[in-house]
Point group: C2
Chain length 337, copies 2
């Protein structure tokens, strides 16, 4: 079997590695497809060198089939098609005890804090697995993890039918949020500056504008009869996103912070007071979001084929990173293992 | 009758003015007591000169008795003791139509956008009035408005019995929030730097610390078994308050922004993501908060006498402002009209 190893300093090598036999309550997967996440690109850029272990095998957006089952595992058999919810909580911290195990205070994120899925066989805790139904391809199965992020974000944003939602940032997560919100019955506007992504959003039936070429707050005000948006998803993690997010919502409107801000931006807290705005941080997903993502994908409710812009072999991980860095005509890149 | 007039440039004069006869759906009050609000001090400092009309009569924390009733007014008679909820919404903007008339997009705040209560007789819309029960003094009646702010903030913060609440800033509003949260069953910590206010908070049965002399986040972590606070009220409107407010809450903890920030501070949005924090802007009050404040005050559930540190005659408004500017041994100053 082979794997892609990250050595720091933007260096990836492809090499051999031995499959890990599943221990008690573990399952070994034959990896099929793995998406490249923005977080993987951050790791490649060295941002998380203090957190990962060299050489790091990254990758956490995975589909595969069960290849071996450890002692004590029930409900999964060799050959089963699965997706992995890559969270391993401690089970006993205050967050876990409060029922927030997905944001456990000692959380291990598989593929960051442990070896990940950019390898032929991946051994994971059985509690992370979700069955994929027969009518869902393994290609689409690798999209369940990011789709579950979107399902979580839309759930945290309490999106209701008929509401007006704005998504700031039309990358893979932003577009998936927009599509899940639209499926939930919202009118959705995507704000994005990349022309390829703007055009793709429009092809997907979403309203989309470039905020450099239009007055976004004025547009939202006009589209909502002077009220403002019911909910805004901030997915850019940029100072300008943090600025505009407070200009768009209606009184008691909601803002969901999805983007991961490396530095604290300036935030107009006066506007929170003035309009009684509400802000919800949203991180990863819970099992119910994974279940919902699988349901939506199996129904064909989200056009995943249009979002997967490239499928490359595993040994082209670095080429995938370079393509993502370049921006342009790229949305989600999958690696076929 | 006489009134206190603000002319800009930190100038207050006391002079005569004619009582305004109540028009249809209006009521004229004989003013009894009026609290000096931090907002009045801001106006005195010229911060709102673009918004007020010279000469401005300020004042909106009022108790009084009905002295005349206009046509069409029902439910109020001459001699009735009342407090005023000083909000006059338009009734037809998107906020009003959504049921958020207290944050109406065209809201007139009585005493800022209209003449206020620092005068012998004050004429207001009848819909702003709340009856004061016989067992509630007119002195305490002037505390209903700020107490209603606290009731609103605690309601927005969804405080539950047994929860751990932190109030950043122990001025009049902060202390009232702390007392209302305590009455709702929370354990409450007040963070304050003024020694007089710290000591007063402790006399009122609240835990209180000076964040310059103790590690506030470490203290809250220790007090909550490593979890963090359930709810934090930011009442300082300071950059350091905006910084510390994200360091204290537990996973999915709530932050209520009460302070009015003149400039957007830096806010750690990463922490919102990491712990799925929630932030709620809170502004003024709704009628249910006024009703609740009257109920609490009439029950004696909040020790208002200890919060009223001075009662001065109306012509000492400027002296009251100077006392507030000086900090020190001052909490709430009332004017007796």
């Amino acid at each position: 079997m082979h794997a892609a190893f990250y050595h720091g300093n933007q260096t990836i090598t492809i090499g051999d590695c031995a499959p890990v036999e599943p221990g008690p309550d573990q399952v070994q997967l034959k990896v099929s497809h793995v998406g490249i996440c923005g977080t993987d690109l951050h790791i490649f850029h060295g941002v998380m060198d203090q957190r990962v272990t060299f050489p790091q095998i990254m990758g956490h957006e995975v589909s595969g089939t069960v290849s071996a089952v450890g002692n004590g595992v029930t409900g999964f058999s060799v050959g089963d098609a699965v997706a992995v919810m890559p969270l391993d909580p401690c089970g006993h911290c205050p967050a876990c005890e409060a029922g927030h195990s997905h944001i456990c205070q000692n959380l291990k994120f598989l593929g960051i804090d442990t070896p990940g899925a950019f390898q032929s066989y991946w051994t994971v805790p059985a509690h992370t697995l979700h069955h994929l139904p027969a009518n869902l391809s393994l290609t689409h199965g690798a999209m369940i993890e990011p789709l579950a992020v979107a399902c979580h974000d839309v759930r945290m944003g309490q999106v209701q039918p008929g509401e007006y939602a704005v998504v700031l940032g039309g990358g893979p997560i932003g577009i998936l949020i927009a599509l899940v919100a639209k499926h939930a019955g919202a009118r959705v506007l995507v704000s994005e500056i990349n022309p390829f992504r703007l055009e793709l959003a429009r092809q997907l039936g979403l309203d989309a504008i470039d905020p450099r070429q239009a007055d976004l707050p004025a547009y939202v005000t006009e589209q909502t009869g002077g009220a403002g948006a019911d909910v805004v998803f901030e997915v850019t993690a940029s100072p300008v996103g943090a600025e505009v997010m407070t200009q768009l919502p209606r009184t008691r409107g909601r803002i969901v912070v999805v983007g991961i801000f490396g530095q604290p931006p300036k935030v107009d807290l006066f506007r929170f007071f003035w309009r009684e705005l509400r802000l919800f941080g949203a991180r990863v997903y819970e099992h119910q979001d994974f279940a919902r993502a699988i349901e939506l994908a199996a129904e064909g409710a989200v056009p995943l084929d249009q979002i997967i812009t490239d499928i490359r072999p595993l040994d082209q991980l670095e080429a995938g990173f370079r393509q993502m860095e370049g921006g342009g005509s790229v949305m989600k890149i999958l690696l076929e293992v």
